[in-house]
C-alpha cells in the first residue's frame, strides 16, 4: 500500500517537475546576468558588481526590480497586440525547450522509477529544433510591430542570421542522429553511459568532434551571442529589434537570451558531453544517489558551457554582417555536409549502419 502523499506525487509528477525546471531555468538565467558581468569584469581586470549584498549577489534582484519599476512605453504607431506578443513568444519558446532535456538518471520513489525529464517524447531532438525556430518569430514580430526602421532592420538581420545558421545546425544534428541512431533525447543520454566502453570513449564528442564545433558555433548564432550578436548591434542599429521596448518587455527579451543560453548549454552537454553521465558512475548503486550525482554533473557541464559562452563574448568583437553570412553559408554548411557524408561512409564502412 503506497501512502497517500506518494500517490499524489505520482499523479502530479510531471507538473512538479515542470515547475522545478521552470524555476531552475529562470534562476540560472537571472544569475547568468550577474555572472556575465562578474566574468566580464574579471576578464578585464575589474571587480564587477559588488554593491548589492556581499559580492553583489543581490544584483539580479535589484535589476529585476528596476525593470519592473520602469515606465512602460508602447509606441502609438505600433501594433499593440503583436508588440506584446513578441517578447512573450521569445520568453515562452526559450522556457519550453527545457521540457525534453533529461536532467539526470531516473529516481526511485516508493518503488516507482521516475524520470528526471518533463516529457520523454521519442522525437525530442526534432522538438528542440522546432521550438528553437519558433523563437525567431519572437524577434521578428517584435521588430516588425515596433514600426521603427531600426527595429525592423534588426529583426531582419536576426531572422536571416538565425535561419541561415539553423541549416548548418540541422545538418550537424542529423550527423549526430546518425551516430546515435535515435531521435529521443533520453536515448541519446543513455547511450553515452559512463565514459568508456571496451572500444572507445562513449561521449559523442569523442566520436565526432567536428559536429560539436559546428553545433557550438551555430548555438552561438542562435542565441544571438557575440560574435554573432548583430541583431542587437548598438552601434549600427541603436538597439536592434528591441529599440522600442522598455520596462519588463525589454527585460523579457534580454532574459530570454539568457534562458536560451542556459538551454543550449544544456543541450550541448547532453548531445556531445554525455549529459548526466560521468566516469565510474557504475560504482554508485543507490539509484537516488546516482540521480543526485548525475544531476550535479549535468549542471556542472551546463554551467561550464555558459562560462565558455561568456568567455567568448568578452574576448572577441562581433563579425561584420557579410563575414557572418560567409561563415554561415560558405564554410559551415559545406563543412557540415562533408561531415555528414564522411560520417555516413565511416558508419557504413564499419558496418554500424
Amino acid at each position: 500500500m503506497t501512502p497517500l502523499i506518494a500517490l499524489f506525487v505520482f499523479h502530479w509528477y510531471p507538473l512538479i517537475l515542470a515547475i522545478c525546471v521552470f524555476g531552475v531555468s529562470l534562476g540560472i538565467a537571472a544569475y547568468s546576468t550577474y555572472f556575465e558581468r562578474k566574468i566580464a569584469a574579471f576578464l578585464q581586470d575589474r571587480l564587477g558588481p559588488n554593491r548589492a549584498g556581499p559580492y553583489g549577489i543581490f544584483q539580479p534582484l535589484a535589476d529585476g526590480l528596476k525593470m519592473f519599476m520602469k515606465e512602460e512605453i508602447i509606441p502609438n504607431v505600433s501594433n499593440k497586440f503583436l508588440f506584446i506578443l513578441g517578447p512573450s513568444i521569445g520568453m515562452f519558446t526559450s522556457l519550453i525547450t527545457g521540457a525534453v532535456i533529461p536532467w539526470g538518471p531516473n529516481i526511485r520513489y516508493h518503488g516507482e522509477s521516475l524520470p528526471l525529464q518533463v516529457a520523454d517524447v521519442n522525437i525530442g531532438v526534432l522538438y528542440l529544433l522546432g521550438v528553437v525556430s519558433i523563437g525567431v518569430y519572437g524577434v521578428m514580430i517584435g521588430g516588425w510591430a515596433s514600426n521603427n526602421k531600426y527595429s525592423l532592420i534588426g529583426a531582419l538581420r536576426a531572422s536571416s542570421q538565425m535561419i541561415s545558421y539553423e541549416v548548418a545546425m540541422g545538418i550537424s544534428v542529423v550527423t549526430l542522429i546518425m551516430i546515435t541512431g535515435s531521435l529521443s533525447t533520453s536515448q541519446i543520454a543513455a547511450e553515452q553511459h559512463g565514459f568508456m566502453n571496451e572500444h572507445w570513449l562513449t561521449w559523442n564528442f569523442f566520436k565526432n568532434p567536428l559536429t560539436f564545433f559546428i553545433f557550438f558555433i551555430c548555438a552561438l548564432a542562435e542565441t544571438n551571442r557575440t560574435p554573432f550578436d548583430l541583431p542587437e548591434c548598438e552601434t549600427e542599429l541603436v538597439g536592434g529589434y528591441h529599440t522600442e521596448y522598455s520596462s519588463m518587455k525589454l527585460g523579457f527579451y534580454l532574459f530570454a537570451e539568457y534562458v536560451n543560453m542556459f538551454i543550449s548549454s544544456a543541450v550541448m552537454s547532453l548531445f556531445f558531453f554525455g549529459g548526466y553521465n560521468f566516469p565510474w558512475m557504475d560504482k554508485i548503486h543507490d539509484p537516488n544517489m546516482l540521480a543526485l550525482a548525475g544531476t550535479c554533473v549535468m549542471f556542472a557541464k551546463t554551467l561550464f558551457f555558459i562560462f565558455v559562452f561568456m568567455w567568448i563574448r568578452w574576448t572577441i568583437p562581433r563579425f561584420r554582417y557579410d563575414q557572418l553570412m560567409n561563415l554561415g553559408w560558405k564554410i559551415l554548411i559545406p563543412l557540415s555536409v562533408i561531415n555528414l557524408v564522411a560520417t555516413g561512409f565511416l558508419l557504413w564502412g564499419t558496418g554500424k549502419l
Binding site: 569584469a41 574579471f42 576578464l43 581586470d45 567568448i312 572577441i316
Partner: protein, 206 residues
Amino acid sequence: MQALTNRSKMVSNKQMTFLERLYLVSIFKGMLITISHFLKKKATISYPEKHRPISSVYRGQHVLKRDENGAERCTACGLCAVACPAEAITMVAAERKKGEENLYREEKYAAVYEINMLRCIYCGLCEEACPKEAIFLTDRIVPTEFERGDLVYGKDILVEPMEKSKRIDVSKRQTPDVLEFKTHSEYAHNQLWDPKKSLQTKKQSH
C-alpha cells in the same frame, strides 16, 4: 620608398587561407589571453572604502579657518571672490557687534559665505589671494550629491569646528616652500598691525 624608421610594418593584402578564414585559431588565442587575466590582480580601487594615495599638494574641499581663540579669520574683504576665475564664491559682509569679539577676529565678517563646488575648479587662487589666511584648500574630497543645490556649500560646512581637536589641519597640504615662508612672521600679512614692529622690519631690510 625608403622607410624613415624601422618601426613601419609592411601590410599585405594576401587572401586568408581556409584555416584562417575559420577564425578558430585566432579566436582560441584570444581566449587564452583573456583567461590569463581572470585571476590577475584587479585594477579597481573600491572608492569609498579605499582611497587612492593623493599628491601632497592635492587641492580639495575648502576650509574657513579660525584663529587660536576660535574666532573666524575671514574679514569678508572679497579678495577671494575677485581672484576666483570660476566666480564660485559669494559672500555678504556684516559688522561685528560688541561682545562678538570671540566669534569674529576682525571688525567686519562674512555673515554669509558660499562656495559653489560645481563651479569651483580647485585652482587654489582664493587661498593665495586671502590676506587673512582664512581660506585654504584641503586634501578632503568633495562628495557627490543628488541635488545641485546641495553642492553650494555655506558657512556651516566650510568653517572648521570650534573645538581644538576637530580643527582641520592645513599644514599637511602645504609645500615645504610655503611652510618655510610661514616661519618668517615678518612676511605674514595677518599679524595685528604693530607700527613699531613694521618699522623694525623696514629698517632691517634697508
